[in-house]
Amino acid sequence: MTHNVLVVAEQIQGVFRKVTFEALSAGLKLAAQTGGELQALVLGSGIDGLAADLKAYGAAKIMVADDAALADFTTEAYTQVLAGVIEQVQPGIVLLGATTQGKDLAARLSARLNVALATDCVALAVEAGQVVATRPMYGGKILADVALSGTPVIVSLRPNTQTIAPSAGAGTIEKVAVTLGAVRSQVVAKQFESGKVDLTEADIVVTGGRGMGGPDFSAIEALAEALGAAVGASRSAVDEGWRSAADQVGQTGKTVSPNLYVACGVSGAIQHLAGMSSSKVIVAVNKDPEAPIIGKADYALVDDLFEVVPALTAEIKKLKK
């Protein structure tokens, strides 16, 4: 196999996702194992200035595909460009962040190139010349070590699982010519809440469950703000219509691995635990000492959340002053 590692950098509204730096750091370690070099590709429109932000992460070459047609991600257009670049530079391994866009792009690319794909991986290594990735299955109830055959292989990495390690690289920046064939899908509108950290990338997540008793999550929001955290919800809170489905943590929602996960009024059903058990530290606030979440939490506070959460917010604000 060829030894180079190509990282597909993901930027949104002109800012790189954190997982891009994680993928570059993981890619550099892999390249050291394969004896190849690390390369990066950025796609977008009007992103000339952006590529330099990647220089500090060890890439030998940064390729930029800058075209009006790439302003917004569509699976079709991005797959065409990425497939073209892969044909040109012939990497052995292609790494992406396992984001909404990264997972979609990786899937389409795997079919176009007829190559192996391992999605949402938490670890990877080269063993006897073959890439072996570790990926959660069954919503995280099991981990699988999978071996990927053929060249190149595609791996998407779960956000928040790789350590970011800045490293000097030559970082030459190269433009990639963009020629697109038929693209039958396009983004016609978009809406982003500015400054909002996504659940999957947040260092801290505060979640409210049915114990919130209603749609008023202001106490949780205030605690999240004090902590710089993202707000999650159990499925019950989503089913009640208190929170949007995008906030759901669990086997049929988002999987999160923050440094700190604070579950408030969440019982800890198996489907919920599947989505957050890989958090580094778990805090449970629950009035029921028998709730399953208590048995999984590093710190449990058994009391009424309506008293605990505001007090916690105040105490954290005091600490941060």
Binding site: Y138, V146, S149, I270, G295
Partner: protein, 258 residues
């Protein structure tokens, strides 16, 4: 509208998963199998499109004979017919599954294919989008709302930190996200009727494929259980204030996460 729905039979989400003695598969004992939850949304959306536009809903599933149960559930919800693709003793990775589906679908006429964005067993996030590429049609993922007009489908999709609207020309494949709809239950008359609806089974040979081109590129070397979390410390104290102060101290000084 000719609507195709992709569905997979998976262990129910409340299942405890254990590793089998071969270390590369899971213990089947006592597992209850159900339709993948995201595929329930797909069946429901297909039925709603048929109800408003007319047409036929055909379910396709790759799996062992047992997977016919999940197809029957879809038929009981109201779908018209089903096709089970039984790969025999071939172990399929996500791409091989997509190839089987593509071979079955290529000779069919269709306007929309609806799938889930992931199956909650393998969590590959791959089959739907890979299939769209193999068929040469556009795909839209994480759909929470769709409207059809003038030979196009327009979808509202969730992305990190927001939503976007994507439009594609038909035929197209869309993949569901929670929030799209509330799937109906199969009614008793529905279940009775489903027994008589056509459900055919096809083998790899029936699809004109050869097992050699379907060998998995991704193979499981070993399954492991994640590190089991044990309960830590229950914070003691006479009042909420005392407990909260102790918790914040522990998070700051001991766990060092704030």
């Amino acid at each position: 509208m000719e609507i195709l729905v992709l569905l997979k039979q998976v262990p129910a989400t409340e299942s405890l998963i254990a590793i089998a003695n071969d270390r590369v598969s899971i213990k089947p004992d006592g597992l209850k199998y159900v339709m993948n939850p995201y595929d329930e949304l797909a069946v429901e959306e297909a039925l709603r499109i048929r109800e408003s536009q007319g047409g036929t809903v055909t379910i396709l599933s790759v799996g062992p004979a047992k997977a016919a149960e999940a197809i029957r559930t879809g038929l009981a919800m109201g779908a018209d017919k089903g096709i089970l693709i039984d790969p025999g003793n071939l172990t399929c990775d996500g791409l091989a599954t997509a190839k089987l589906l593509a071979a079955a679908i290529k000779p069919m006429t269709y306007d929309i294919i609806i799938a889930g964005h992931r199956a909650v067993d393998d969590d590959n996030f791959q089959v739907a989008t890979a299939l769209a590429e193999l068929l040469g049609i556009p795909n839209i993922s994480m759909v929470v709302k769709q409207t059809l007009a003038d030979g196009k489908i327009r979808c509202l999709c969730t992305v990190e930190g927001g939503t976007k609207e994507v439009e594609a020309t038909l035929p197209a494949l869309i993949a569901t996200q929670r929030g799209l709809n509330d799937p109906r239950y199969a009614s008793l008359p529905g279940i009775m009727k489903a027994k008589k609806k056509p459900l055919e089974t096809r083998s790899i040979a029936d699809l004109g494929l050869d097992a050699a081109g379907l060998q998995p590129l991704v193979t499981i070397k070993a399954l492991k259980m994640p590190v089991e979390r044990k309960g830590g410390r229950v914070i003691e104290g006479d009042s909420v204030a005392v407990k909260v102060a102790a918790l914040v101290k522990a998070l700051h000084e001991e766990a060092k996460v704030i």
